[in-house]
């Protein structure tokens, strides 16, 4: 019985790491531009289809394709920010929300156009295999995906900490006016941030594609999961996204096992409501600056 729990918890952690990568993209965009990307789940689905298309073209194992999907979505995010989103940075919040709703609808429409409504499964030999560590069995595809996600998260953290561009992103998130005063080119920072945010979503999408068959309507679920994680962790907090992602992954896995799979999301939403009410800036978030 305990080994069942061990397996469920470790499976939850593995999925949680990928959730964390999705949430990281959402939180970094909010941290720098104060925009809530309502189309984040749609961007994850772009990554899923990118992973699917690359896998069917090359036959390479899906986890190795995540960096390619990340690059692709980085370019999309960069251009999208320059072309459309930038004009909305100083607009009222509802206008920003509506912009992302529009983008979400457009992306879903394009997905339906190119891939249709039917799920696109990735079938690989590893789907049925698992690693055994003591009494714990780890699903091969999940483990590979989680390790790749950890690698990408690590790279992103190193980039933010040690590169000049990373430092300017952190500076812009920390104090926008100060960053402008010392000569940081904020527009470029914005575009790079949007690129990174979308790259996180895209990489996570490619990693998750063999686990959830790619389908346009999965997007809303991913957006909502990402919202729950970043609110619980604190909008704009990187640490919060990582811890929140793993927490939600484990909580959903445990709720599916102990209560019922259908009700697992109730716990996430209940948690979201509680955190919004009691600690609206999240567990790791700092109080809003005015």
């Amino acid at each position: 019985m305990t080994s069942l729990y061990h397996n469920v918890i470790s499976g939850g952690i593995l999925i949680g790491v990928i959730y964390a990568l999705i949430a990281l993209g959402l939180t970094i965009i909010f941290g720098v531009m104060r925009l809530v990307n309502f189309a984040h789940g749609e961007m994850v689905v772009i990554g899923m289809y990118a992973g699917y298309a690359l896998w069917s073209a090359t036959g390479l194992p899906p986890w190795t394709l995540a960096p390619v999907a990340a690059l692709l979505l980085f370019a999309m995010g960069y251009l999208l920010q320059k072309a459309i989103i930038n004009a909305f940075i100083d607009r009222p919040q509802h206008a920003q929300f509506i912009l992302f709703i529009a983008l979400a609808l457009i992306i879903t429409g394009l997905h339906l156009l190119f891939f249709g409504p039917d799920p696109r499964p990735i079938q690989i030999a590893e789907s049925m295999q698992s690693y055994a560590i003591g009494s714990i069995r780890l699903d091969v595809v999940r483990t590979q995906a989680a390790l790749m996600a950890i690698g990408l998260i690590g790279l992103l953290m190193l980039f933010l900490k040690y590169s000049t561009l990373g430092a300017s992103i952190r500076a812009a998130a920390d104090n926008l006016i100060g960053a402008q005063v010392i000569g940081i080119r904020v527009r470029r920072v914005y575009a790079v941030t949007a690129g990174i945010g979308m790259a996180c979503a895209g990489a996570a999408g490619a990693l998750i594609a063999p686990l959830f068959d790619a389908q346009p309507f999965l997007a809303t679920d991913f957006t909502l999961i990402a919202f729950i994680i970043v609110i619980v962790g604190g909008l704009g907090s990187l640490m919060g996204a990582l811890v929140g992602g793993v927490m939600i992954g484990v909580a959903e896995a445990l709720a599916a096992l102990t209560v019922s799979p259908a009700l697992k999301t109730v716990f996430s939403y209940a948690l979201l409501v509680l955190v919004l009410l009691l600690r609206p800036n999240g567990i790791f978030g700092e109080p809003e600056r005015s």
Binding site: V36, T108, L113, V266
Partner: protein
């Protein structure tokens, strides 16, 4: 923030003409315009909350609570349809008040309030998915009625003309009620909260009371819309009345038509709904799935980028009421 208002008589003439035209139309136009007035009505309700600066991304919650309460009370409890509709509106208003009271009590504002509305809507949707009494994911169905012996005003169910007139009257009612409210002191308080909450509080606007009131009215109106919608459909599914997609569909018409203006949601619905129906048909004809979604998205993107105040203020401006249109910002 004073909306460019249409004065009372032209609006009354418009609604009267639409009512008179009802029996002259064939059932295709009746059902199309029923949908137009359904979205116009829901848009008016959504826009009322927006007028107090409260962005609702979970309006389907109020629609769904009203729809389920009305249908369940009629079918399972045998209650009078009018009473059931009122009870549905009351319950929706209660849910809205509770949500807003909690949010305002814990000073949840801006983005966080919008997320709170989605969280509540999704929470209720998943609960309804798993609630056997209301049919769960399998849905809740109303018994078919015999059209020969049916008296629409007693059962609140009928043919296309009945529901056309029902949603038309609901829209007209909401239009005049909201117009009255916006001209009252509460209207000024709501606009004050929208413009600058801290400044409004400093001037003595009772923020908590004002917010709870505006959401209660907005949710109550949405509950009536949901109740009628459920009676029209005859079947209810959590996903089709409470899903995120429903909440989004509700806010498209008021945004396209003009945020914060009274006639905006109606103009928006007249523009958006036929376009959606047309692109739906076109999508099916040429087998291009997602065409309607794509058009929807492009349209919202174009309006929000190029016409941030929506179509209605622009139409007013075209009619050379330039000065009143400029006041909307």
């Amino acid at each position: 923030m004073r909306p460019p208002a249409l004065s009372r008589w032209p609006a009354l003439a418009f609604f009267a003409a639409m009512a008179a035209a009802g029996p002259l139309m064939d059932s295709f136009w009746q059902s199309l315009l029923t949908l137009v007035f359904f979205y116009a009505y829901m848009g008016l309700s959504w826009n009322l909350m927006m007028s107090a600066g409260l962005l609702s991304l979970g309006h389907a919650l109020f629609l769904g609570v009203g729809a389920y309460a009305t249908a369940v009370l009629i079918a399972a409890a045998g209650l009078d349809p009018w009473l059931s509709l009122a009870a549905g509106a009351f319950l929706a208003a209660m849910v809205g008040s509770a949500l807003t009271w909690l949010g305002a009590r814990f000073s949840v504002r801006g983005v966080h309030f919008a997320l709170l509305t989605i969280a509540f809507a999704e929470l209720f949707r998943v609960l309804f998915d798993n609630w056997e009494l209301v049919g769960g994911t399998g849905g809740f169905f109303l018994k078919a009625i015999n059209p020969e012996t049916n008296r629409p005003l007693a059962t609140l169910r009928g043919g296309t003309l009945f529901f056309y007139l029902a949603f038309l009257s609901a829209t007209a009612g909401a239009y005049f009620i909201i117009g009255r409210l916006m001209a009252s002191r509460w209207g000024y308080r709501w606009r004050g909260l929208h413009a600058d909450e801290d400044a409004a509080r400093a001037l003595g606007v009772p923020a908590l009371q004002s917010k709870v009131l505006v959401v209660a009215i907005s949710a109550g109106l949405a509950g009536v819309g949901g109740g009628l919608f459920g009676l029209m459909q005859g079947s209810l599914f959590p996903d089709s009345v409470m899903g995120v997609r429903v909440s989004i569909d509700i806010l498209i018409a008021p945004i396209i038509g003009g945020l914060g203006s009274l006639f905006g949601p109606i103009i928006g619905a007249f523009f958006v709904v036929p376009l959606m129906e047309f692109s739906n048909v076109l999508a099916q004809r040429i087998g291009f799935f997602g065409l309607n979604t794509l058009i929807n998205g492009m349209l919202i993107l174009a309006v929000i980028t190029f016409l941030p105040d929506g179509l209605w203020p622009r139409l007013i401006a075209l009619a050379r009421f330039r000065s009143s249109a400029r006041c909307s910002k």
